[in-house]
């Protein structure tokens, strides 16, 4: 599972944290993340019967002629959106699901920092390190 980019988007659809493996392509990933927000809204409206913490695969298809990505989303009860862009066609939903649960756990710990102001970008270095460690597994 090759994760290319991660993002945390807050309640008012403001980006709180963006991680890109390749910093040169950061703008492209930001665009993809922005488009994926629409899918979260659609999901809210259409699906009234849901189980907890949802994830859905988003096929972006051949955005780039060279590579194709898959975008996975995860919506917490407190309206934080976790977005994960994967560059691998062999990855399974379950694997990504496990990763999202860990991601949510790290986010929780970062938010519980008493010096963190809700709605502001997450600049915690520990959060960043934990994510990088988790990605390498």
């Amino acid at each position: 599972m090759h994760i290319v980019s991660l993002a945390v988007v807050g309640k008012k659809n403001n980006p709180l944290y963006i991680y890109c493996e390749n910093p040169k392509k950061k703008e492209n990933f930001e665009y993809i993340i922005h488009t994926s927000l629409d899918f979260f809204e659609e999901n809210k409206i259409t699906n009234n019967e849901k189980n907890s913490n949802e994830e859905k695969p988003l096929y972006v298809g051949l955005l780039f002629p060279v590579e194709s990505y898959r975008v996975y989303g995860y919506l917490t009860l407190t309206n934080y959106k976790l977005i994960c862009i994967i560059d691998d066609t062999t990855s399974k939903n379950e694997e990504v699901g496990f990763f999202m649960v860990d991601f949510h756990k790290f986010l929780c710990e970062a938010i519980c920092n008493p010096f963190y102001i809700t709605g502001s970008p997450i600049n915690s270095q520990i959060f960043h390190k934990k994510i990088i460690q988790r990605i390498k597994k």
């Binding site: 309640k11 009234n48 849901k50 189980n51 907890s52 913490n53 949802e54 917490t76 009860l77 407190t78 309206n79 949510h104 756990k105 929780c108 938010i111 519980c112 008493p114 010096f115 809700t118």
Partner: protein, 262 residues
């Protein structure tokens, strides 16, 4: 218990944070008048002393009723001037100064951030909320058990955006006591009524009836839980204002009024 320890930790961190903030922001030294005011707020127990202080402050007539009327007028004026969403509207208010409002605001914000963070932690494995009722139940059951070890006793609504959480034995104010003379006053007043005797026989808790001034002081302990409720609800997505009424000592009713944004 690991959860109660983390609550304490958070409270400590919050208070430290605010101390640091105030030290940096308020570079000026407090006036002696302000310090006297704070001392007066903290040591107001006797009604007579209160009246004297109010008279001194206002420099007006000595009738109690007239003072209260003027207090109410001042309340309204102050309420109109300062409409802050963070400051809850309270039931028993005497003339509040800027400093008092500032303190109330800060206490409420401490509770607000506590509520947000506990909601975040607890809402990890819960199913999604379909209706407003479920969100209120989440606060009443899950957050209350996590923070105070028991659920809210009674959750009511008036179906028009008002929700009331009634806790029979609220943990944070359960062990508050008064001076000996006051307790005797309270107890003698209490023993006269039959209803209270019956109540005491039914429940094991002894509910203490308080005087007005005691209730006002008790309010200062109830701003943090108001904030907790407001924070937890806003984390889930319900904007509201929270007030609290406490007639007898461990028995509180928190009312949350939902703000409808159209």
């Amino acid at each position: 218990m690991s959860v109660s320890y983390s609550l304490l930790e958070q409270i400590i961190f919050e208070s430290v944070h605010y101390v640091i903030r105030t030290v940096h922001s308020q570079s000026k030294v407090l006036d002696p008048e302000e310090t006297n005011l704070r001392v007066k707020i903290a040591t107001r127990f006797n009604e007579k002393e209160e009246e004297e202080e109010e008279e001194e402050k206002k420099k007006k007539e000595k009738d109690i009723e007239k003072d209260q009327d003027k207090e109410n007028q001042k309340e309204k004026e102050n309420g109109k001037k300062k409409k802050q969403e963070n400051v809850p509207q309270l039931e028993f208010i005497s003339s509040k100064t800027d400093i008092e409002r500032n303190i109330i605001n800060r206490l409420e914000i401490i509770g607000y951030r506590l509520g947000e963070r506990t909601a975040e932690r607890i809402a990890k494995n819960k199913p999604r909320f379909q209706e407003e009722v479920e969100k209120m139940r989440f606060v009443a059951k899950d957050i209350w058990t996590a923070l105070f070890g028991k659920m809210v006793k009674n959750l009511r609504t008036n179906h028009q955006g008002k929700w009331m959480f009634q806790d029979d034995d609220f943990k944070l104010i359960r062990n508050i006591s008064f001076t000996l003379s006051e307790e005797l006053q309270n107890v003698s007043h209490q023993q006269n009524t039959r209803k209270n005797q019956q109540k005491q026989k039914q429940t094991n808790t002894t509910n203490i009836i308080m005087t007005e001034s005691q209730k006002q002081i008790l309010q200062s302990y109830l701003y943090i839980p108001c904030g907790i409720i407001r924070g937890a609800l806003s984390a889930i997505g319900v904007e509201c204002t929270v007030t609290v009424i406490c007639e007898q000592l461990p028995d509180c009713v928190f009312t949350a009024k939902i703000i409808n944004k159209k």
